[in-house]
């Protein structure tokens, strides 16, 4: 798959495919359709990028930090997974995520800088869990309010 992506983006066109895996949840979920576009310049902090994985596979994770000539790349949902990838090995950047026929923008816009920082210092997963727990309680609170 990585070789196919490399062939397509080397022709200057984006590559659209269905992602599988849970390492980038909640921002990219298993089954989301992802578009990867050629890099037009240096990748930016917080960008979700694609690079070759083991056995010709494709990895799509987020840039958490930049080092001289390389990027520290982590998985949103599994922050202990860290790759240091030279700039030349990046195949492209995620420019679109589609879920159930709708575009998902969260995680690709300016907030990606905040996400990169949280990811680098191990805070992203706890904050996402807290957000989920809070959301799960909200409907119950509203219903109690309506009863009163």
């Amino acid at each position: 798959m990585a070789a196919l992506l490399a062939d397509v983006v080397s022709r200057g066109v984006p590559f659209r495919f269905q992602a599988h895996g849970y390492s980038m949840a909640p921002f990219v979920r298993d089954g989301d359709v992802v578009t990867i576009s050629p890099l037009r310049g240096p990748a930016r902090l917080g960008d979700v990028v694609a690079y070759p994985g083991e056995h010709g596979g494709l990895v799509v994770h987020r840039i958490a930090a930049r080092h001289s000539g390389a990027y520290e790349i982590r998985a949103d949902g599994v922050p202990d997974v860290v790759d240091v990838v030279p700039r030349a090995e990046l195949l492209g950047v995620v420019t679109r995520v589609e879920r159930d026929g709708r575009d998902v923008r969260l995680g690709l816009g300016p907030e990606r800088l905040l996400l990169a920082g949280l990811l680098r210092y191990g805070l992203l997963v706890p904050i996402v869990r807290l957000a989920r727990a809070t959301r799960a309680h909200l409907p119950r609170l509203r219903r109690q309010g309506a009863v009163l």
């Binding site: 798959m1 196919l4 992506l5 066109v13 590559f15 659209r16 578009t35």
Partner: protein, 101 residues
């Protein structure tokens, strides 16, 4: 519908596609629309299709392709192979995945 393929014609893959062998399958991704879309437009060729595709090199006529395949696949008649080659070329031309030379 009758095929318009001439046995003297020469075909080659279009420049507007990318192909790769992945896990023993030939995967073809058209990029003419400005995107390589595996989600909505991805093609794979079976063994017969791959054998035919591999001979569409811009030098061999359709007749020569059929003749070579008939030699390589002695279990099938030249008529059967000819029919497979023309049938595949019809599909590939319809999708603009091959061009005449």
């Amino acid at each position: 519908m009758e095929s318009t393929i001439s046995r003297e014609a020469v075909y080659r893959p279009s420049d507007d596609l990318v192909s790769r062998e992945i896990d023993g399958q030939l995967v073809i991704v058209p990029i003419a629309a400005g995107i390589g879309d595996l989600q909505d437009e991805l093609y794979t060729l079976n063994e017969t299709g791959r054998a035919i595709w591999g001979k569409l090199d811009g030098r061999r006529t359709v007749e020569a392709v059929v003749g070579e395949l008939a030699t390589e696949f002695s279990g099938a008649s030249a008529d059967e192979i000819g029919s497979d080659v023309v049938g595949l070329l019809d599909e590939l031309l319809k999708r603009r995945m091959v061009v005449t030379v």
